[in-house]
């Protein structure tokens, strides 16, 4: 027990070395690739001379500007739809007596686990203007000519993205809601506020940081998304930043122009985060203290069924329907022929499991890359968040900024930063597992960081201070007091990173080598041909693996992590 050792050694806390290592890790993971990106954006290809030409090329065409505008609009729209979908669900599950909470949790989890590109494929099968099941049923029922829904549109794309992003809002908002004790609401009730007024004036404002934070997160996730825009956007003729960046990497690989194209995006998102900080500054959101607090459910009466209906509808759209069509396709010889016994086959699974050269390897890669990067991200994020919130260092804010920074550029550009910094000599990491693990860890550091930050912010330092007063060292106090309090949140963070890493495409697409392809990249390659039967089967395997991991996680941390808190 090093921390409890008496004498002088106690004052020389080993923690200082840890902080230095932490700074070094952040520099390698975040600062160096970003810096390299910035430098490269001013370099002439081949010669490396200083130039502004890349910016002129990157923004010198209407098409390129349109792509930027499309991305920004898409990000806003998807994030807005996600908030609309998720906030009522989070409130209902956390604060009310709505029935079917376990079901709602399962929905959120399933929607979250489902990779967005898989959802996109499911929705192509559902809402293709001519062949989609929904439109076929609609035509058969009404005799109409025109389709009811068309996935190949801007709103269609935003909607599909939101259906797989809303869980982030739900998770953040719900965990914030969980921490608010009913006393605050009771106070409002006593002063004459009804349920709705209380929710509007007291409850929601208290979770405002999580709503805003998750909105920004989804905005940034969306503009970084590559799979869905490639799968739906190309047929819909919508060019976005990521698909445009892809074009800059066509031969000759114009990393310089791509970097220049990405830098203004960086400014926009830095601006967003500044706005977030401004909006939240000088307001207290501490809701978990050393004192106990009671949490009671709001009684909704008949309204609880309305809310349940909402959750049910979301479940249908985000999970049940896409999953059903994907499942059907994965067992079909030809999915367009619908369900019939002579259309059933195991061939798609057999092809992947026994005949495909890369599928087993890619599956294994996905599992261990995700686990490794989730671990790296979770540990780094916890330490950084701790330093920032407890203000242990003068440069703490800079560290926090570095940890959040990966979200200011799309994953695809993050990958290019990594490509530019580490792919070639002297490190020559291109095609190695390490490169992808580091890139994933860096890319998802902000998720882990936001998670740790929210968790630590909600724990009042007084408990830790008590331990410190009793002679505990900093690390010891973290380990014995803070960490146990944060255990479930941290594992939650780890799982979140694992899941998003296991489905990550845009950061992987430029970094994978032939031996390090992940399931997402292989799926993307398979979708090129529109071979939806095999794609669905592979997606099914991916979902099974993720579900197994989540199941193990739930077992380890206890049911209370994933299910409601009574």
């Amino acid at each position: 027990m090093a921390g409890t050792r008496p004498g002088r050694l106690r004052r020389l806390e080993p923690v200082a070395f840890l902080w230095i290592a932490l700074i070094a890790a952040l520099l390698v993971l975040v600062a160096a690739p970003l810096l390299k990106l910035l430098l490269v954006s001013f370099e002439m290809q081949e010669t490396g001379e200083f130039t502004f030409q890349n910016y002129l090329t990157a923004y010198g065409r209407q098409r390129y500007l349109d792509a930027l505008r499309n991305s920004l609009l898409l990000g806003m729209l998807s994030a807005a739809i996600s908030v609309v979908i998720a906030v009522p669900m989070a409130w209902a599950v956390s604060r009310t007596d709505m029935p079917g909470k376990g079901f709602t949790w399962a929905t959120v989890l399933a929607a979250f686990i489902m990779p967005p590109y898989l959802g996109a494929i499911g929705w192509i099968l559902l809402a293709g203007p001519n062949s989609g099941w929904i439109n076929q049923v609609w035509r058969a029922a009404t005799g109409a000519e025109a389709p009811l829904v068309n996935i190949y549109t801007f709103t269609g794309m935003a909607f599909v993205i939101a259906l797989h992003s809303f869980p982030l809002v739900f998770i953040f908002v719900k965990s914030a809601l969980d921490l608010i004790s009913s006393e605050m609401e009771d106070a409002a009730n006593i002063l004459g506020g009804g349920t709705w007024t209380t929710m509007r004036k007291v409850t929601l404002p208290l979770v405002w940081p999580s709503i805003l934070g998750s909105f920004i997160l989804i905005f940034l996730e969306t503009i970084a998304l590559f799979g869905t825009p490639a799968i739906i956007g190309i047929p819909a003729r919508i060019n976005v930043v990521t698909t445009q960046l892809w074009q800059f990497f066509e031969d000759p690989v114009r990393v310089e122009v791509a970097a220049a194209y990405a830098i203004p995006l960086l400014l926009i998102t830095v601006g967003l985060i500044a706005v977030q900080k401004m909006l939240l500054s000088r307001k207290g959101f501490v809701s978990q203290t050393g004192k106990g607090g009671e949490r009671r459910q709001v009684k909704l009466g008949p309204w609880r069924w309305v809310l349940f209906g909402w959750c049910l509808a979301v479940a249908m759209l985000a999970v049940v329907k896409p999953l059903m069509v994907l499942l059907q396709a994965s067992f079909a010889k030809a999915w367009g022929r619908g369900f019939s016994f002579d259309n059933l086959t195991l061939r798609n699974y057999r092809f992947l499991l026994f005949e495909h050269d890369m599928a087993p390897q890619a599956t294994w890669n996905t599992v261990w890359f995700s686990a490794a990067s989730a671990t790296i991200a979770a540990v780094l994020a916890l330490l950084v968040a701790y330093i920032v919130i407890r203000r242990l260092m003068r440069l703490a804010d800079a560290l926090g900024f570095l940890a959040m920074a990966p979200f200011v550029i799309p994953g695809i550009v993050m990958a290019i930063g990594f490509y530019a910094a580490y792919a070639g000599p002297p490190l020559s990491l291109y095609g190695s597992a390490l490169l992808i693990i580091l890139a994933f860890a860096a890319r998802f550091l902000p998720i882990a960081y936001a998670n740790s930050q929210a968790a630590i912010r909600a724990v009042h330092p007084e408990m830790e201070e008590a331990a410190r007063i009793l002679g505990s060292g900093r690390l010891h106090a973290i380990r014995r007091v803070t960490a146990p309090l944060l255990k479930t949140s941290l594992l939650g963070g780890w799982l979140v990173v694992f899941i998003v890493a296991s489905r990550e495409l845009s950061a992987a697409i430029f970094l994978v080598g032939p031996r390090t392809r992940t399931m997402s990249v292989l799926l993307y390659d398979l979708t090129e041909q529109g071979n939806f039967e095999v794609v669905s089967a592979f997606g099914g395997i991916l979902l099974l693996i993720t579900m197994a991991i989540v199941g193990i996680g739930m077992k380890l941390v206890g049911r209370d992590f994933m299910l409601r808190r009574e």
Binding site: N130, R237, E250, Y419, E528, Q529
Partner: protein, 349 residues
Amino acid sequence: MFLIDRRQMLALAAWSAAATKAWAQAPMHDQERALYEAAKREGEITWYTGQYSADASEAAGRAFNERYPGVRCNVVRSTSQVAFQRLSQDFRAGVGQCDVFSSTNGGHYVQLKRQNRLVQFRPVNADGLLPILRTPDPDNYFQSTFLGIYLMAHNTRMVSEAEAPKSWTDILDPKWKDRLAVGHPGFSGAIGLWALQMRTMFGPDYLRRFERNKPQVGRSSIDPVTMMNAGERAVGVAVPSASTLFAASRGNPLRLIYPTEGVIAALSPSAIPTNAPHPNAAKLFQEFQTGPALSAAVRLLFNESIRPDVPPPEGSRPLDQVTMLAPSLEAAERGVPEVREQWREIFGV
């Protein structure tokens, strides 16, 4: 046309399977044997390919593994432009990962050769290829490994045979609005060749008029086949005959259309990059691709055989009865990037 009854059909299938096995086990010649011994020490070969479909590429990889135990083929299948992009990234990073590069866009090889990025090697088996495929490059920096036929096809439930388009210009008729599907020249090498050929034959306005019919744009040239299977679109433009016949064999209502002007023929090479990490295995793979074992494996998935000693696939028109249109490799090198850019201006993606 002659009719084959069920028994003959079975006999034919049995013969075909036996013959495939025989080709796979055909004795090695001296160069091949020497390469095999050297390749065994390298252990593996990584193949970037955009030529055969995913299924057929995997089948080819397995055929290679069976013929040369101890050398493993890593199949990295994508569209040709994507494969080329990955190769370019490898070169830029200075990390060699690809042993054999196979693209439908022959222009890639002209460029790579000029940049001194290819290894000179002539497989002995290349002498046994179809005459038109024997010498794609007099300096032997690349060798033919693929003959892809790109034509039109229709969903027979949505469009009758009589009603279906007959020529490449028929699809410009406004009556095909919202009923066509096509790949993307930014991804598919074959679609690049097709767009270039159309521009050459019918003038620069062809693509613009084609766009007015709002074709559904996928990525791979194979994508429209799925769209037809699903009933999303009625007519696939510039689809590969192999994938269409394969889909039809799985019960989809598809029929090939041989346009009156001729089909687009991708006579496509493969090559070994100078930074290939397994140079001997790469050469062995080139022997394999030009030899009978590859053709025997891919013909089962309806791809054209590239050798006269391996029969063509079932269901496709014999090559001597079709007019083959193809831009030269040099025209493709310059023209495909041009037409790709023009496409993006017209289509927006």
